[in-house]
Symmetry: D2
Subunit: 260 residues, 4 copies
């Protein structure tokens, strides 16, 4: 098995300069271990808790920035898509299209994404069991595109709380598709701050280590140079200056797990 | 407070003749108690468990049938919309647009629905707490449209199971918007049959009685002349020949609750 | 079916005078509707959240008070027992022995309680499914004592929260034993205040109405003349001066349900 | 930090010969890595799902066997206690008394166990949040005995299912007491087979690896030479002939985690 790769970047695109700075710092954090990364950023936060929070730069400007990052840094880029019409334009730039968890049962979106031929990272809905993702993958695969990744970002557990069931990773792996663990959103507290979601940043590395010990193909970890002032997901992003050390640790657990 | 009204119909549109037959039988079931109903049917099941199951007649044909029912029976009609572009055409025919539970946080859909001026019935996501619905309603209300109904259809409880927390009804009512209880989907067992969802039809009347005793503005109950052979939601729909007796019972509980 | 009866009283015995006062006020609240009640109080809170909170008067003194209430008011009395050795002495006074939810799987306690011949009210563990209670009842019935009541007091739902699944009432009723709904502990927030449990008193009448509409044999409702200063369960007890009106309402819903 | 130790043995004592054989095979499995173990076995299964299943050898005979194992193998021994009166006699033989999860709030049991001066391994109730265990530990510590271990064995998640929230391990560690992860009961499916609990043995090593990566002081893993025919917990015990390889793997993850 290959070493884990990372899907990482700021949650939300802020500007070309910010994206460049983040890509550079992530590349530096990944270099010592030779860890491959896919640069992730969103051009639109389409399902925020409240109407009063920022949504982002929009698709056109966002894709342009992602295209520049891809070209300048020579890395694959990923963004999330929110309706079928966004898939084709997003796939012209992006190597990976991501299906948000709330939308993982929307057949039209899954088909449109699959039909682009891009790789698809589909998040498990918080309302789904891990074995339910076989049906989700099958919808995408019905387009002939089997470049599918299944990503766990936590499961509803009472109100305003998620829990990660680590049995879910090997269960999803039974599909044969690579499994990704999203350490950032798994420690989200949905709606936990009234009009925004809260989070428990301190547990993201803890759960990421657990995921590596269980065995995954990739980790999804959002990062920012100043999470407390980031436009979204601040409470659960990792400060970028801690990413180098975290990646080294995770690679060690991953290497050990992959000797099994 | 007014007596409860019903949102009812077959889950999925099958044909004009079928819709007519259902509307007629529902009208008969409602007549003895003078219960008002909104005829509900879907033209597209956009988020089914599996790609192998039937999706429906499509928007154009579906809206045409709903228009005929509205005209012939003189009843308001409701359908669910799945992306922003569907809202305006659906609202040309339908009195009420319904936002599916999985989509209740999709800002563009909520805004597009709100902007039509139609009444909006928004289902609480299975992944949301009842108090989180205040933010959802506020997104719609930001369009100036406050004809909003908040509908409970169950909350994730472990895997492949929903639970109804009846505290949620008065909590959602604190928003000032009318609250609807969906007795059909609250007894759904999501993904519980492998490639389709299961259900516990026998508990739909039980939970509907409870909702009336707690206090609601309307009930959502899907019905069919032969649920076991319906194209979707069969395991949790009420046979139409039982609707008359059920409505009578529910009106009695509702009347009692509304003396409090 | 008979009208609902009540299991009611202060959570914790405070003194003979207090018990008398409570019994008198409860009797007054029940009189207008002819509602039968079982006087409930605990002599020992054996499983409180924290060591720093009050446990009660102890078994000897507690049973003496319960004996006086039984004699003076001519009502059956109930108390909860916490180990096998307490069952026989408690049954000398009490008509009903109650098995606490945490202890509902302790075989020795169930057998010792059953062997007294007293009626047994066993609470469903917060960690059990309603269908699991058939095994619990069978343990008691193995003693030859089938005077068993099964009582729902909520199910674990995330952390520090309970939810009532009203499907559980008819599911437990399939055993053939009478089903009781505990409106007081179902709105408890276990551990929700650090060293004590919190509660949502305002929802106790709401859920009690729902239970009556679903159909139960009895309701369990703790009450106090000053809940905010009661030694335990204050946040979820009903003020005794509201009990008369509540009982009347619940009897109306019960009567309606029992016409079905 | 010291390397992890193990709490291990058959779930239920069967005979002196069986206990000897198990202790010998466990000692062999632990030897290559120098892993210390505490021999665990129960003399009474006091809270089984159903009255029809086996309870065990009883206290007197059970403690005698544990005493022999302790003497012959020179290892500490652990057993679980079910009421206050069992604590003193059990502590005459056993180095560690274990408080079952259902009983972790029973004040008398916690105090009696604490007063023996033995080490106490207390399982987190399936109905408790990890932070609720601080109050539990404080009850024991009020006796002056602070030789306390806090053990996670899963949390209620819907019906007949447990989930492990790995955030719970560092949360419980904030108390300052060593934290144990019970890999055997965390994969139990309570009541999942009608009159007995089911289990998912294949996930015990998976979750144990995750726990080591997160960081724990000890692991609790039940084992048997023939789990499918063991008198209890068969579905979730590890075959003893797999223990050597498992221990080696877990020690590697533990060593890596303890470099952090």
């Amino acid at each position: 098995a290959n070493p884990i790769s990372l899907i990482t970047g700021p949650c939300q695109l802020e500007s070309l300069d910010h994206a460049r700075m983040m890509a550079e710092r992530i590349a530096e954090a990944c270099a010592p271990t030779g860890t491959k990364f896919i640069f992730k950023a969103s051009y639109d936060k389409a399902n925020r808790s409240s109407i009063t929070t920022q949504r982002g730069l929009g698709m056109e400007k966002g894709l342009e920035i992602l295209g520049r990052i891809k070209e300048e840094f020579g890395v694959p880029v990923l963004t999330d898509v929110h309706d079928a019409a966004q898939c084709a334009p997003a796939a012209e730039i992006c190597d990976v299209l991501q299906i948000p968890a709330f939308l993982c049962r929307q057949t039209d979106l899954l088909l449109a994404a699959g039909e682009t031929g891009a790789a698809i990272n589909v998040k498990k809905g918080q309302f789904l069991a891990p074995w339910d993702m076989a049906n989700v993958a099958e919808k995408i695969a019905s387009t002939g595109n089997t470049r599918i990744m299944l990503c766990d970002r936590g499961t509803s557990f009472g109100y305003n709380t998620l829990v990660t069931d680590f049995r879910g990773l090997p269960i999803m792996a039974r599909t044969g598709y690579p499994v990704v663990f999203d350490a950032t959103h798994s420690v989200q507290q949905p709606g936990g701050q009234g009009t925004t979601s809260g989070g428990q940043r301190e547990f993201a590395p803890v759960l990421a280590r657990a995921a590596c010990a269980v065995g995954v193909s990739a980790l999804f970890i959002e990062t920012h140079e100043d999470p407390d002032n980031a436009p979204s997901d601040g409470p659960n992003m990792i400060p970028v200056d801690q990413m180098g050390a975290l990646i080294k640790t995770l690679r060690d657990f991953d290497a050990l797990a992959k000797t099994l």
